[in-house]
C-alpha cells in the first residue's frame, strides 16, 4: 500500500496523529491534512456521542457531528481532486470532472458510513443487523461504480440474503424473553456502550494513521499492469466466439465451406497486431492462408463480461486458494455440527436438572 519512501525535503517528519502540522508533499496532493485530521477528531467526538448510553440520548447530535466529519474529509478529498482548470473555462462547470468520482459515489458512500455508524450505535441487535444490511447494499452500489457487478450482486445475495439472515435467526434465538411489565426494556449490555470515549479515540487515531499512510503512498502508487497492453480477449475466450466466427466467415464467403480456422494448442491462430486482424485457415488438403476479418464480422458476444472475467481469474489464477477456501468451509461445517451436538448434551443436562427440581427423578440418580 505504501509507495516508495519519500525523500525528505529537510523538514521534520510530520506528526500524523491529529492536531499537529501537515506533512508536506504526498499527503497534500490528496487532501489537506488539516481537513483530514480535523475530520478525524470531529468524527471521534461524533461517534463517542452517538454510542448508546443511559439517560439522554445524544445519538442524533453524534450522528450529525459524525456526518459533518465525514463530509469534511470528503470535501477535502474533492478539493484536492478538482481539475487543474478549476471551475471555469474547461473546468468543472463545463463537464471536466477531473479525478472526481461519480455523484453516486457520494450517495452510496455516505449511506454506507451512516448506516455503519447507526449499526454500531443502535442498542437493539435486530436493528443493528438491519442497518448492516443497508451498509451492504450501499457497498454493493459502490461495487457497481467500481465495475464489479458480479461481486455487487454476490454480496447482496450472500451477505444480506444468507449471512445476515443467520444473524437474525441467532438474535431471535438468543434473546431473553421480555418480561411482562417492560416488554421494551433493553438489556444492560445492549443499552450501555463500554468506554466509548477511549474506543472512539483509539479508533479514530487509527483511522487518521491509516488514511495518512494510504494517501501519502497514493500519488506514487504504480499500476501493477501497464494500460498499454491489455490482455487480448480473443485469445482468452476463443472457445466462445470461434464457432460464430467460422460461421460468419463462411456466410460472408471469405472462406470455403471445407476450410476451418487453424487451431494451435487450443487457440485460434490470430494475428492481432495486423489491422484488420487476420486469422489462419486451413483446407482439408493441407493448404493454409491468412484471412482478414472485417470489423463487422466480429461477433458482439465475444466481449467478456465481468462475470466471465472474474470466473476466469478465479479458476485460472487461484485454483489453490479455492481449494483452501473449500477446506475452510468444510471445517466450519464440521465445527458447527460438533457444536450443535454439544447443545444436545447441554439440553440433556438441563432436562435432568429440571426433572430433579420437579421431583420426577430421584436424588442422586
Amino acid at each position: 500500500m505504501l509507495g516508495p519512501p519519500r525523500v525528505s525535503d529537510g523538514t521534520k517528519p510530520s506528526c500524523v496523529a491529529g492536531k499537529a502540522g501537515a506533512s508536506e508533499g504526498a499527503l497534500e496532493a490528496i487532501i489537506n491534512p488539516l481537513l483530514l485530521y480535523g475530520g478525524c477528531a470531529l468524527g471521534a467526538v461524533g461517534v463517542a456521542f452517538a454510542l448508546p448510553k443511559r439517560g439522554a440520548s445524544l445519538a442524533v447530535i453524534g450522528g450529525i457531528i459524525a456526518a459533518a466529519a465525514a463530509g469534511l474529509v470528503v470535501m477535502g478529498l474533492t478539493f484536492a481532486a478538482l481539475p487543474s482548470e478549476g471551475l471555469g473555462e474547461g473546468g468543472l462547470l463545463e463537464g471536466n470532472f477531473g479525478a472526481l468520482p461519480n455523484i453516486y459515489f457520494h450517495v452510496f458512500g455516505v449511506l454506507a458510513l451512516a448506516s455503519g455508524l447507526r449499526m454500531i450505535t443502535h442498542p437493539r441487535p435486530v436493528y443493528a443487523a438491519l442497518y448492516f444490511i443497508l451498509t451492504i447494499v450501499a457497498s454493493s452500489g459502490l461495487y457497481v461504480l467500481l465495475s464489479a457487478e458480479f461481486m455487487a450482486f454476490a454480496l447482496i445475495i450472500i451477505y444480506a440474503g444468507a449471512i445476515l439472515i443467520t444473524y437474525l435467526f441467532v438474535i431471535m434465538l438468543a434473546t431473553q424473553a421480555p418480561s411482562e411489565e417492560e416488554p421494551d426494556r433493553l438489556s444492560e449490555y445492549d443499552a450501555v456502550a463500554r468506554e466509548p470515549v477511549a474506543a472512539a479515540a483509539v479508533g479514530f487515531v487509527l483511522l487518521a494513521v491509516i488514511t495518512t499512510l494510504m494517501f501519502s503512498g497514493l500519488p506514487t502508487l504504480e499500476r501493477s499492469r501497464s494500460e498499454a497492453s491489455p490482455e487480448p480477449a480473443l485469445e482468452l475466450f476463443h472457445g466462445k466466439w470461434e464457432p460464430d466466427l467460422t460461421e460468419s466467415l463462411r456466410a460472408a464467403e471469405l472462406i470455403d465451406i471445407t476450410e476451418t480456422i487453424a487451431i494451435d494448442s487450443g487457440l485460434a491462430e490470430l494475428d492481432l497486431s495486423a489491422a484488420p486482424v487476420t486469422v489462419l485457415v486451413t483446407s482439408p488438403v493441407g493448404d493454409s492462408r491468412r484471412v482478414e476479418i472485417p470489423m463487422e464480422l466480429i461477433p458482439e458476444g465475444f466481449v467478456a463480461t465481468n462475470v466471465e472475467r472474474v470466473g476466469m481469474n478465479l479458476l485460472a489464477e487461484h485454483p489453490m486458494t479455492i481449494e483452501i477456501a473449500g477446506v475452510i468451509l468444510l471445517m466450519a461445517m464440521l465445527g458447527a455440527t460438533v457444536l450443535a451436538r454439544k447443545q444436545v448434551d447441554i439440553e440433556e443436562a438441563e432436562k435432568e436438572r429440571q426433572a430433579r427440581r420437579l421431583g420426577l427423578l430421584e436424588e442422586g440418580a
Binding site: 500524523v16 506533512s23 495518512t212
Partner: protein, 790 residues
Amino acid sequence: MDTITAIQNLIAPVVMAADAAGGHGAHGGEAGPWYLAWIPFIPLVGAAIVATLTATGNKDKTPAYMSVVLLAISFAITVSHFMNWGGTPVTIHASDWISFSWGDGPGQSFTGNFSFYFDGLSLLWMLFVTGLATMICLYASEYMSHDVGPGYGRFFFAFMLFVFSMSCLVMGDNLLLLFLGWEGVGLCSYLLIGYFYKKKAAVDAGQKAFVVNRIGDLGLLMGLLLTFTTFGTIEYEPLFAMIEAGETASGARLANTWQSWAIPLLLIGGAFGKSAQLFFYVWLPDAMEGPTPVSALIHAATMVTAGVYLVARMMPLFLADEDRIALTVVAWGGAITAFWAATIAMAQFDIKRIMGYSTISQLGYMFAGLGFLSSTGAVFHVFTHAFFKATLFLACGAVMHGFAGQLDMRKLSGIRKLNGWKITSFAMLIGCLNLAGFPFTAGYFSKDQILAEAFYTPDSVVWGSSWAGWLLLLTAGLTAYYTFRVFFRVFVGPTIFEPGDEAHGDDGDGHDHADDHETHGFHPHAPGWAMNLVLVVLASGSILAAGLYFVNKKDHGWAGSMVHQSSAYVHGATWIDHGGPYDAAGTESGPEDGTDADTSEAVADGGAEAEAPIGDYSEAGHAGGADHAAPLALTYGEVTEPGKLLGFDPHEVMYYVSAVFGAVGILCAAYFHGPRGFEGLMIGARERADTVRMNGVAIKPVNRWAERKWFVDEFYHLVIVMPLRVVSHLFHWFDKIIIDIGLVDTLGRIPGWAASVLRVSQSGFMHGYAIRMIGGVALAAIVAAILALK
C-alpha cells in the same frame, strides 16, 4: 574342574560377542583369557537383575539365591583361571573407558580403560573376594530373611554392586579403575551401613564412614593425579616399567624428586582411610551398625583390605623412596593402630564392636608387615584374616540373629549349651583361636611372619622396627585376651541370656518378644542350614588356610608364591646401589629366580624337616632370611646383619615367643572371664573381674577410658566437628540472610511485585484486550508512519 569348564563353555558365546563388540584390543602385557572380564560384570548384571526384581515387586528370596549363583560363577571363573595360571601377569581389555590425548608427546595422553590386570596379587585377592562373597551371600539369604521384600532387594543390590566395585578395584590395570572401584566400595559400604535407615545410629555411622573415607580418598586422588603428572601414565605396566628404570616422565632421576616420597604418602592417606588406620579408624567400629554379613564381608574381609592392596600393589613406588619415609609411616602407623585398637577392644562389651576393633588391629598388623618389607606376610595375613574374621563376624551375627539383636556380652552366657548352637560355638572357637594366634592355626602363621619380619628388618632400614615389633608382640597378647574374653563370656559358663531390642528380630514374631523380653517367653532362634553351612565352610577354610603356609616353601608359603609373581614382591636383590630400586638382575622375577631358590636351599639344608611343622617354619624363616640377607648387606653397606630377636634369628624364635604371648592372653581371659568352676578345669573369676572393674581403684580410670575408646570420638568431635559446625552455622546464616533473603528472595519477589501491579490490567474482558490490541496496532502504525514519511 569339569563344572568350571562347563560353565565356561556355557557363557563363552556371550562373552565372545561382547568381546567382538568391545573391540578386543589388549595392549601391554600378555592378553589373558577373555572370560576373566566377566568376573566383575557378572555381579554387575546380578545387581541389575536384583534391582529389576525388586522394582517388579518380588517378595521372596529369589534375589538372594540368584546372587549366590552368580557370585559362585564369578568365583568359579576365578578358580579356573587360578588353576590354569602360568605365573605371568595377563591383561584383559574389556572396553575403552576414558582414553584421550591432546598431543603426540609423552605424557600428553591419558588412558584409563576397563582393562583388567591379573598377577598373583590380584588373583589372590579375587579368590577370597569372590569366594567369601559367595559364602556370605548365602549366609545373608537367611540372615536378612526378616526383611524379605524391598529391603532384601536393596541389600542384595548393594551387595552385588559391592562385589563389582571390589573386583574393579582389585583387577583394574590402572589407578583410575582402582579409584572407580575404591569409590564404588565406599558407596556400597555407605549404603549398607545405613541399611537400617530408620535407626539414627546407623545413618550417622554411614555418614561418618563416608565422610572419613572422603578425607582419605582425597589423598588417593591427589596421589593418582601426581602419579600421572610425574610418570605420564597411570597404567600399572608402563608405570612399573618407569619406576624400574628409575626415571620420571620428564627424564629426571626418580630418587631425587620430591614426588618419590609425596606420591606414596598421598597413597597412604587413601589406604589408611579405607583400611581404618591411625586417625581414620573411627568410622569402622561405628560401621558395625550395618547388617552383620556386611560387617563380615565389607568391613572385615574385603573392602578394608583395599588399603593393604593399594600399598602392596604400589610397592615399587614405596621402594623407590630411598629415604623410606613412606615405609616408616606405613610400618609405625600400622603398629600403633594395632596396639591402640587392641586396648580399646579390651574394654568393650558389644561383641561386634570388639570384632570391629580387632579388625582395625589386624589391619594394623598387615600394614606393619608391608612396612617391614614383608609383603608376603601382610598378604598372607590378609588372606587368613579374611577367613577367620568372616567366621567370627558370622558367628557373632548368628548370635545377634538368634537373640533378637543382643550384642552385649554381659547379657549373654553359655550359649554353647543351647540346642542348635553347637556349630556356631565351634566356629567361634576356631575363629578366636586364629585371631588369638594359637599355635598351628592360620592366624598364628601369618601373624608370626609379620612379627618376625619386624625384628628381622634392621632398625636402620625402617626406623625403630624392633620397637614396633615389641609393640606388636604385646598387641598379640592383648588380642588373645580380648578375643577369648568374648568367647568365655558368651559361649561358656552358665546359660543366661536376655534378648535384645529385637532390632534384628527373629522372623517377624519378635514383636511379641519385645513386649515381654524380660520374661522367659523368649526362645533363642538357632541358625538355619544356610548360616550353619557357611559357618562350617568358613571355619574349615580358616583351619585349612594354615596348610597354605607349607605350600611352595621357598617362597614362604603359597601367599608368598603369589606375591612373588606380582608387583608387591620385594625383590631380594634389588636394594639398590645403582639409583633405582631394581637393578638389571632384579627385573627378572618369578619363581624361576635362580638366586632365590639356590640360596634358600643352601640355607635350608638342615634336618629341619624332621621337626615339621616347626622345622618347616624355621626353614621358611631361613628362606626369608636368605631372601633379605644378601640385599641388605649389599644395599646398606654398614648393615651386615639382619635384626635379631633376643639374640636369635627372629624367624626361628618368633613362633615360640608369640605363642607365649598368646597363651598368656588366653589364660588371662580364662581367669577373668571364665565362669567359676570352668568345666572343672580352672577357677574362673568372672564375677570378681566385674567387681574389680566396677570398684578397682587403680584400674578403673584406665578401664573407663578404654571403654569410652580413649575419648577419640569426643576429641574429634571437639576439634573437628564442632568448629566445622560453628563455621557452617555461620555460613548457614550468611546464606540464609544475605543470599537467600537478601539476594534470591528479593530478586524473586520483583517479578511478583511487578505482576501484582500489572495483573490489575488483566481484566479478563475481551473488550479490554481488544482495545489494548487495537491501541497497540495504532501505535505501531504511528511508528510506521513516522518512519515511512520521514
